[in-house]
Structure formats: C-alpha cells, structure tokens
Symmetry: C2
Subunit: 409 residues, 2 copies
C-alpha cells in the first residue's frame, strides 16, 4: 500500500523509521510492503537530519491528493489549518485518514466520522490520545459489548512530570516548570498543558466515543495547576495524598459531567504511582467493570507506534462502517455531579483576614481538619458539591486571597 505523510517532525520521522525499519512481526513477515511515497513539508530545501530521500518530498499538497496510487494519508502536522481542509479533501478523494491531531479530532469528530462513512474510508486517530497507549482501540472494542459510563485518567505528560518532581524533590511550581522547559518537556508558553487545554481535548475525544455523543472541549470544566506550592505538596504528603492532574467524565441517565482539574488521590490509588511522562486511563463498562491502561503518553516512538498501528488496521481489514456513532442525546451538567471533601489552602496576612477567611469557610462547610502554619490556613472540609465549593473559592479570590484547592477522591 502506498502512503502519503503530512509532516516530518518528531512523530512523522518516527513513523517513517518504523515502516522502513522492518521491526516487529508485521514488517518482518509480510510480503506486502508499505511504502511512504510522498511526504509533505513546508520547505523542501530545509536541511534535515532524517534518512528520508529528498525525491519523495513535496511542498504541494496537490501532489499527494492527486496521486491515485496513494490510498492512505497520515496527518502529523499539528495546527488546525490547513490540516483540517486537507483532511476533508483527502476523504473526498477516498483516501483513508490517520491522524495524531487532537485539536482537529476534538473539534470535528462528528463531521469527520460522518464524511469518512459517506466516502467508505476509515478515519483513525489512536495517536491523538495517550501516545502509545492503545486507548481508542480498546475503548471501541469495549463499547461493542459494554455501555461505558465513566472515564478517568492522567493524560498530560508535562503536568504529570511537574507534579511528580514537585512531590519528589520538594521544589516549587515555577522552578520545576523552568527545568521542564529546559529539558524540552514543556513549551515556552506552557498554557495548553498547565491550564488543562491539552487534557480537555483528549477527554473530549474519549468521552465522545464512550458516551456516543460529540462532547466538545468547551463543555469541559478546566482548572489548572499553576497555584500549587511547595507548602501544599508537603501537606499532601503528611495527609497521605498525592496530587494529580485528573481528567474525569461521568454519564448518568443521559446527563454527563466532565472536568480537568487537580485532584488529591490516596497514596494507595494506582494513579498515585503514575509518574513522570507516563499516562493512565481508566474506563468503566457495565459488564467488564473497570479497565486501566498505562503507557508513555507522548514521545516519538510511542506516538509513532500508535500511528503505524492504525495504518496496519487499514491494511489488514476490508473497509467497514465504524460501530461508533455519535447519535446519543446527552446533556451537560457541568461539574454538578462531582462532590467530595476538599483540601483548601488560603494565605492570610493579618489576624482580621484570618478570622474573615475562617468565618467564610465555616459558612460553607464544617472543617474535618484545620491547620495553621505561619500565614497560611490549611483546611480539609466535609463532603461538599463541586459547584458550591467553587462559589466559596471565587468569593475568597474576590477578596484578594491567594489560595489553592483540590477535591479529595
């Protein structure tokens, strides 16, 4: 089968190397060969370190779309445009699509699945969530037999690296972020990672498949991890908790809640021991119960492995309609179905402020525990609804208090 490749960055290079490296059973035993015959790049004259022959490079997408021998196109460019327009054109020209682009999949999943079905081609996106973890495939397989009502996981390597290092080395957020940036684990602008936009796109994709309805990124509650401090981390350790940046969605009677926020887990929770750049996803099916999948959430080889896995699926299977349909009617309930005990740290600068803060918290919830250390109040509340607790913290912020909080699960 002849393949077009759009983008020859880290993942694209990895894909090229796997296909031409002849590792694993498929590439070792098969007689049918897979050939990448065209590679789209922005600048064909740029000096590259890859082994890719220059004669297969082009800077013109039409060279690929008009090549009738190319049956499948791999999209690993990143960005919304022109990639999305190219995808639509490619589907119209009856080419199978494989992509790692979570932004496009999250935003246009319904359109792309429908268009692929109309044109009898496959639209596959395993690499868009969880790097090398085979979560999309596993989710689809599980859904054939089960209804899935809950998804939970750690889906961002950068923030998991930051939280692991803060917990392990007793350093502050800014310091660890800087290290992560120097090591290339975090972007110069870390917003997409640390404020939850990357994770919520991934949760949007998984929840859409699981709940059978297009759950859009904007319907997912997001709260980042910028405000957590060394003092918080020490307190978590004393209390037997581990802070993780958790994506979570839940469906009940046609209503769903979906959130991306810092959550305190018991140190006995499996996810508490998922560190550094690793990801984990838990799904719950009505028959199979809970399944969890763990692996490298990013990186050249793991992500390229997911892309090539999709490609082999296309090569090894006749085209057939997806079992996945986004036709269910579900209603967003924000974060209204989430509740639990909360950890809250508020910085105070004098005695009056101290009393005001205590009184305000007390008006929302009794304390299970309270500790005071210099100019910081640490509280663990009784069980309280997530929306109600957000009201409390919004009020505290309005009054100018610096704080951090996380629900305990």
């Amino acid at each position: 089968m002849k393949i077009g490749l759009l983008g020859i960055g880290t993942v694209g290079t990895g894909v090229y190397e796997i296909i031409n490296g002849e590792k694993g059973n498929y590439f070792a035993n098969t007689e049918e060969k897979v050939h990448i015959t065209k590679v789209l790049v922005r600048d064909i004259h740029k000096n590259r370190k890859t082994q890719i022959p220059s004669e297969i490079m082009t800077d013109n997408f039409d060279d690929i779309i008009n090549d009738d021998e190319i049956e499948a196109i791999i999209f690993v460019m990143g960005g919304m445009e022109p990639e999305y327009s190219y995808m639509l054109k490619a589907i119209e020209r009856k080419k199978h699509i494989i992509t790692a682009n979570k932004a496009i999949v999250s935003e246009y999943l319904d359109v792309l699945l429908k268009k692929a079905e109309e044109n009898n081609v496959m639209f596959l996106f395993e690499a868009s969530v969880g790097g090398g973890i085979p979560i999309i495939t596993s989710l689809k397989e599980t859904l054939k037999i089960n209804r899935i009502d809950e998804i939970k996981g750690i889906l961002n390597g950068t923030t998991n690296f930051i939280l692991s290092k803060m917990a392990g080395e007793g350093k502050d957020f800014g310091e660890v972020l800087k290290t992560a940036q120097e090591l290339g684990f975090a972007e110069a602008d870390p917003t997409a990672d640390v404020d939850g936009y990357d994770v919520s796109r991934k949760l949007s994709i998984l929840s859409s498949l699981a709940f059978g309805s297009h759950i859009k990124d904007e319907d997912i509650y997001k709260r980042g991890i910028r405000d957590v401090t060394k003092a918080d981390m020490e307190m978590f350790s004393d209390l037997g908790y581990v802070l993780k940046f958790i994506a979570h969605s839940k469906l009940e009677n046609g209503e769903y809640c979906a959130s991306v926020e810092p959550i305190l887990l018991s140190s006995k929770n499996i996810m508490s021991n998922v560190n550094e750049e690793y990801n984990i996803v838990s799904i719950h099916g009505n028959i199979i119960g809970e399944l969890q999948f763990y692996g490298k959430g990013a990186g050249k080889n793991a992500t390229a492995n997911a892309v090539v896995g999709d490609l082999l699926y296309i090569i090894n299977n006749e085209y057939r309609k997806e079992d996945i349909h986004l036709k269910n009617k579900v209603i967003s309930r924000g974060i209204d179905k989430f509740s639990g005990k909360y950890y809250l740290r508020v910085d105070v600068s004098n005695h009056d402020q101290f009393s005001q803060v205590i009184d305000l918290i007390d008006s929302y919830s009794k304390f299970k525990k309270m500790m005071v250390n210099k100019d910081r109040i640490f509280v663990v509340t009784e069980e309280i609804n997530a929306n109600v607790f957000n009201e409390l913290t919004a009020t505290l912020k309005e009054k100018g208090n610096k704080l951090f909080y996380a629900r305990i699960e």
Copy 2:
C-alpha cells in the same frame, strides 16, 4: 452466525446472557444476530437456574460437531479431556474455536495454532489469561510493530486477595486462606493458586506469544506464597515494600528466564496498589516502551466479556492467517538472569542455631540490614543471583530452619 457452547457454568452462563442481553453497541446496532443454537452439558436433566431453553441443550458432542450451521464453538468447560479432543475434532470440521481453558492453551498452543491455520479457522483464547483484561489482543497488536522482551504481572486473583488481606488486616496466611475459601475466592484445594500453577500457565501463554516460541509450563520456575507470615508482612510495611505474587519472563539474545514467585515491590510501584481480585500485566516493547493493562482477573462477567470479544472478532473479520508464529528458537536459562537484593526471614530456636544461620548467610552475602525479633532473624542482603540465593535457602531448609524469602525489585 450460529454458535455451539460447551459448558454452562459461571462463564458459560455469562456468555449466554451477554449475547442474548443485547447490551453494548454491537448487539444494539447490528442486524446480523448471533445465536447460541446448541449447548453441551453433562446432564440435560439437571435443574439449572439459567434462562437457557432446555431444547437447545444436549449431552452429546456429536450433535454440535455434526451441525453444519454451527460456525464457531465456545469452550468453557474446564479440564483437559474430553475438551482437548473435542477441540481438535471441531477444528477438523472447520469450526472456529474460542476458549477460556488456560491448561489446554498452555499445553497445546503450538499444535492448536498450527491445526487452526491448516483448516483456515481462528483459534482465539483471550479469556484464558487475565479475565476481562484485553491482554492477548493487545499483545498481538503490539507484536505487529514491536519485539517484546519482557512480561511481568499479577495474574491470580485468589493469591492477590490473600496477600492484600494479609497486608491490610494483619492476619496470618492460614486465616485469610480460610476466609477466601468461605467467600468462594479460593478452592477447597488451593494448590493451583497458592503454589503458582495457575499463574505459570498464564505466563506460559503470554510468553509464548511474546517470544514467538512455545514456552511450556514446566519450563517456568514456581515458588508459592504458603510460607509468608504476619511477622513478614509487618516487616515489609516497615521497610516500605509490598509483597506481590509476580509472574515474570524476560528474553535476552535468544535466552529467556521465566518465574512465578513472591516479589517485594516498592510501595511506589504501580503493581503495589493492585489489590483484591484485580490483575495487572506489564509488557515491554522495543518501540512502544512499557504498557500496562489492569482489570478484573476473573469472575463471570469480565471473563464472559473476553469470550464474546473473541466471538465478535470472528464475526467481524474475514478469516486470515494469524501473525503469530511459534517458530523462534529460544533457550531456557531457568532463573539465571534474575538477581537482586533479597529479604530473608529465618526462625531460630537457640543461640547456636542463631550463629550457624548468621554464618551461613554471611558466607553467601553481606547484610545490608539485619534485625532480630525474639526467635526470628530478618535479613536484607546485597544484590545476589537468584540461583545462588536458592542454594542458600535450600541449605537452610535442609538444616530444618523455617523461613520465607523474596527478591526485592
């Protein structure tokens, strides 16, 4: 598609209920229906609590094998014979096979795969390892792109339940085993579970697929968990370790080691937090890195889900040859490639014995730590080869010492 079902115990009943319950996308959306048209039972007159119509039951296997409309047979009877002979006959009659029988798969995997290929039928056995965890499918998919050189996991719910309870509730082995038996989590004769025979069959199946060579049960080193005591468990907790019953196989340059034995994991290890009846499997591929899969290792619905998953694979795919071949030449090196620090507890009854034991241990390894509590010596050794350490413990046992030991990972 019409199906024959051999065995209507717990898993068989679960399979029947899933297929006729119309849950999940496949059974909800498909027009092609799956029908179990014949069920083999030992006694058709026995009173059963299931909803299965008596007219589809038979006590004669020929009724199923001679039914040309039946395209696939599900084997969930347990036991080697007559099930294995039935399987061979069914393959000869061009029927696809799905089985949960790990004893047969472990013993005859090479014969059955070859025979299935000769007869152009599928031989699938997802339910034979790890209950509802999709480990066989995931392993096959990973192998298409990767070479797999290591498998590690918790593969037995009964022993994991026992170890979890011992650690959590401070009870002794015998006491917890009795509870497990009363709750139906352990058999009246617990040998297969607690001495590792159940786990080693599962490791044999996974290792055979991973290493591309039939690794037989008898080539796997087994050491059970009967000798662990409450005193050991308290010591593990103090030292920051968790004891798990671990299956482990490793391939290096065509030589493999495979073992089933109690292992001490850091409490920060993901597997340390896998409790009760849950299982976990880790695989390591040369491209994808480490993947882990977690879920219910046994039980009616989880195992039945795995069986029905295999059935849907047959229904949804044209027959094609397996990518899996057991043609590699690999040599067993026993446990020679395993080494590490060891925990060792030896009971002593007087001062002379105390000195002898200490001298003997000292002649094998320097102590990293030594503690004495009443009539027990607890030692943590330097790194030492697994075979060498087994020599030491064999000598201690010959001298009549009661002991327990586990490698630290």
